[in-house]
Symmetry: D2
């Protein structure tokens, strides 16, 4: 039996869905199928996807290896929904995560399934950091993005999103992210000073939460030495270090964890987006064993046991993380984009700048309106890419890691043409 | 190709998974397959499931109608992950939800996809209520459960879960749920009085959030007249009424929305758990149209576009909500359980009490330890049922709505035997 | 040398003083001299004062015994301002307070000088209660008044005053004061129930703060048995009991401490207003010795060492509290007022009610506008009395304890005439 | 009649007064009389007072001009305590303040009497700033000191004092005070950047609160150009500027208001300490007229009408602020101290530094323990001076403005000798 499709009026999204929707405004069509780096709308128009589910589709849309395992699982009568009960699928994921990811990197994290979204993972991390330390305050960074539930929102920078809370967001103090002053101020000058100074008025923090590359914040890349200095500062001060690897983990920057480039070991790590592999909801909070002071059920949630995502997560780890080929390919592809971007920026040094790491690459426009127009033109020419940054001034590329070189080139051709037209106007 | 299974040591859950896990302690086995009302562990032991994913599996495990649609969707190259882009699967779900659920009930809600878990839906509801009213304070009820992220946790009653926050939970004031004083105090005596009294010290609330039946709180059933009086009080005071129907919606109490029994129309409704139909993560926040003041992207989340769940949600609505047969069956099955429970309780009037609505039924033990022991015995005899209530004193039954009468009887036989043994001890 | 007086324009208060002023609107004249129960304005109009500095002038205006000691101190070169240094005047006050007040009552409080106003004393009490218990939440009561600084305001009920904070006031949960439901609900039904119930959502409180008679709240009198039950409840739950005796202490209700009538011993007591005796700023926070865990300087303030007030405070204790004659006289005078009030209320049972203890007596009007009009008429006829209560519906009498019987009768004549005119209208 | 003195045991302070006392530990004697720059203990030992009530005694102890007016007022039957009623004494103070202070400086503030202590004035300022702007957040500065009640404490830097709150202090974000980085970072680099950046995570502030010279914070002197830049930044960003002149106002730095040196006009100014003139409790909050949106009684307090302090305040203004002689003398005396300090510091450049403005002068020790020892030695040699700064590393001099040059020299001799002994050790 095939499910009967339902006809719906074109106006259904406008009339029935909340005004909160956003991507559907930038890309005003109705998508239907997807494969690899491509999405097709119901009129048959194809779009090259340099957005990849905001980083949730590192292995591409409907990756066939993962799909086969998923369909096999579903059609074999295996359990789908299991809360935090032990299941075979969860056991296999834990074992695979241990063997493929943790052990080769010398890591010994405990794995918490905090609910299937990034913000669940961040909320769990913040709660645990506060419980362990007995302190309330968290240090976040300028232009951080950690999620939309109240705890995560309080450590997020975007003022429009913060205003949505409807209550004053407290218990978080922002510090300057790497290079916030264009290199003119010493790293951690302010942060160290207020920690040193018992009269500074800073509440002693439970934890620091940081992204190694701020995606939503505008592709701001923390240097390895900055991350090392931050980790060192946290250790000296007995402040927990949380790396939010929801968007930058799972190979986005090259290595599995984005912090590997700095050689640091965070106390707590959050993973989501591409950890499920196939775009299915899943999130993990990784804890140093000595921090695992949770009581049973002290944090819970209905969809912690999303077994289809356990299955695709496990297969993705097996398939892509048994050796370093994906990491090397990601770095090479990233450099391919970066090279083109640098050339382009060199032509318009007043108007463009470029930054990125691995397969998160940003083209920053001096005139933020141009960035939006470039993305609009790209969409009309068959390329999906979004802006980020506090003023939406950065075109951010997050293609699938599995993208081909020719697809990269095609996308960059579209983007480059749109950019030239716009900045030369 | 079949995915190679991975061998994992029995100790993997103990050594790798966080101490926060909970159900895996009550039911210490490794589950593997599931169908309808049954789960089977990897040793082949079968368990009758009166828990049903804490209400996420109203249509049973791996419901074949939904699975067929799901597998068909997955194998047809249809898009899986789409954030808040418009997709055919989303359009079909919106149209079906409109035609099957909203229109027949004379409701005109806007639909927000707030992220795929109940707590996302609650956080969105609270944020919007605060934004609309410009007030911060929320009224919740004793023994409420609304979720584990910071906003939802602040309106949740359980003290152990609240302590997990690590910060003082503020902006919420609890009021007595229906029958909190065993009928001796007039309804809303306290709530109305503090609202009337400009010197009461109550911050004027933005909204009231309520469950019509408190599942986690111990199967506390609000009478229709209490709900009507609450809705009336909210309307007179210009306080928004949020019904959290995450666990009690989707037919759990009989009608699709649990508040239908009272004939009220809440301002905001949250749905999750069984709305996806197949146990896949999905949540909706329903808003009266005039409350839809969200700015684009003011609330967001990576897994808002979980298309597989859109598909199973739509098919579930088509299959189960085209007429009132499911509602009538649920009420009949509920009465079947309630009748047995009442008889049992009549035998032990000092030790047992019973309450419920539709297919959420509770057996309350005077001695809370007995409730846990009964669930333990039931597990050993092949029945999964959990306790709830502030002291875990209530055995709570949440079987699939699709359960058969003979399965109900079998489960009740196991439970009744375990109860008799325990209370007669 | 006599200080040259300055001529000032009649408009100076309107044009130079902030709009926040309030009594000067109800009593729009310019006062100049005062003695005992009388104030005289600069035009020579005399007013009988049934307001007494809102309870700060229990011994009347410019009490000659206290004035002589004060002037003697000032003219003897004795130190005026001393922060928290030890001074002879402070030593004498501590000794006198010990011998006249604490020892005869079997009390062993440590004395903190928290700054010279009631709200300083309350803030110190709340801070210490939180420090001692490690909890943040405070239980206050409907219609409580504890002060205008942020900590005190958060436990104050009046919604207009709370709105002045400009931030959400948190960490306090109001409970019903005695007789809040007119006797129909059992005492502490709600409070005990939410404390008992681990799922109630009430944050476990550090302390309860209570006035034995709520002056600003409308002359609400807690019965002794209610106070005893509250003290008992606090002791059983290990919640600290703070009695705010700023307005009702120093003999206002008869005995020195207002809680003596109930035979309870609070953990912390705040005193201010009449403790200085002469209307000079002074406040004390009394602590059970085992609660005195303050670090040196952990709470401070510039005017903790207001030696002129130490002197008048000491002399007032010597002069008025060496025996029980003041207490007996206060009770007798209070009964004199209460008797007249009861007669009056009996004439207009639909419109008037009466309540009070000692020399705080209230006449409650069903129609709150009448209360304000009565006070306006009284002012024009030479009597100062203010309204209180959430709707300003209660005429509150706080005459000096040293008032004569004929002065009482005169004031009551004026008030009674004004009331008759108003309620019979 | 002379009031009988009471004998008290030497132990009364230890056994009866709270452990919170602090100055009495540094200066363990019992003071009794005072005059001008001198205090005498009950054993007849005289101490030269370079502390002056922490800045509350700018005109010296028991200033005879003020005392005469005060005693005259008290013995003339004039009203003592009047809440916020209009009185002759208040009218005269308002007129004198207008004519002597405001008009000559071209200022047009409304005057609020917020209660008689500095922290009352600060709380009123913060409340009003939040009410006017509708925002909650306040910017304070590192090492700020604004008071001990909850609102003031939240903008105070000292970690020990903050911990006394017992709740997380929120709604305030510290920014670096002038010269916080020893001149290596541009002024307001961080503050301007986070205001500019809509993604910085800084809640938009209602107000900035600043001391022009941080007394408790360690005699940190803001340069006029820094203050001007701050005022300019606030104006451009529509953030209110509050200058807390509780300690530095009333001529301490030379001019009446400490901000005059920068030529700025704050939106709100707090005054206390020496505004009463004689050490009697008094505080003012000055508001630009358009900010005076208080409702009547929205902020109140029992001791707002401390008429004896109105009298001494008025006479002090008449006597000391009719011309610029006090200002010039203060600057000269300050320079006298600064010159000696600079010479001393030049001898020990590794161990000493000096800073100050007018008659607040600090001697900063590299080794903070030396500062405490120097003050201890000074006390034993008859000089009262206290330490300040986050590590108590600064000997802070706040002598009466009325001190003589020979008294200055005597005090400096004592201090210099103690310092030499200590640093040369």
């Amino acid at each position: 039996m095939t499910t009967a499709t339902t006809t719906f009026p074109d106006t259904i999204f406008d009339t029935r869905e909340s005004q909160v929707r956003s991507y559907s405004r930038a890309w005003p069509t109705v998508f239907d199928t997807a494969e690899g780096s491509w999405i097709t709308d119901r009129d048959g128009n194809r779009y090259l996807d340099f957005f990849a589910g905001a980083g949730a589709l590192n292995y591409g849309h409907n990756n066939p290896v993962l799909r086969e395992a998923l369909v096999d699982y579903l059609t074999s009568g295996r359990i789908t929904h299991s809360l935090d009960m032990s299941t075979v699928a969860k056991g296999e994921l834990l074992e695979t995560f241990t063997e493929r990811i943790l052990r080769p990197r010398g890591l010994d994290y405990r794995v918490q399934f905090p609910g299937p979204t990034g913000t669940n993972a961040v909320e769990a991390a913040l709660k645990l950091a506060r419980k362990v330390t007995g302190r309330e305050s968290i240090i976040n960074f300028t232009n951080a993005f950690h999620g939309m539930t109240l705890g995560s929102l309080s450590v997020t920078g975007n003022s429009m999103k913060r205003a949505g809370a409807g209550i004053p967001l407290v218990h978080a103090t922002p510090m300057p992210f790497d290079n916030y002053f264009g290199g003119v101020a010493p790293d951690f000058q302010w942060f160290e000073r207020v920690l040193d100074d018992s009269g500074s008025g800073l509440n002693r923090p439970a934890a620091v939460i940081v992204e190694t590359v701020q995606g939503e914040g505008g592709v701001n890349v923390a240097r390895p030495e900055w991350l090392r200095a931050l980790a060192d500062l946290c250790r000296r001060r007995e402040i927990l270090l949380i790396v939010d690897d929801v968007q930058m983990g799972c190979g986005r920057t090259g290595p599995f964890f984005s912090f590997e480039v700095a050689g640091i070991v965070p106390d707590i790590v959050t993973l989501s987006k591409s950890i499920g592999g196939y775009g299915l909801p899943l999130a993990l909070t990784l804890l140093r064993p000595e921090l695992d002071v949770w009581g049973p059920g002290e944090h819970n949630g209905t969809f912690r046991g999303n077994n289809p995502a356990f299955v695709t997560a496990k297969v993705a780890l097996d398939h892509y993380w048994s050796d370093d080929s994906l990491e090397r390919a990601t770095l090479a592809k990233g450099e391919r984009i970066a090279t083109r971007f640098r050339s382009l920026a060199a032509e318009f040094p007043e108007q463009l700048a470029t930054r990125g790491r691995g397969l998160v690459q940003g083209l920053a426009f001096t005139d933020s309106e141009q960035a939006s127009k470039v993305c609009g033109t790209a969409y009309r020419n068959g390329l999906l890419a979004e802006t980020s940054g506090p003023d939406d001034e950065v075109v951010k590329l997050l293609p699938p890691l599995t993208i081909s070189e020719s697809e990269i080139d095609l996308g960059l051709d579209i983007l480059e043409a749109a950019t030239r037209t716009e900045v030369a106007r």
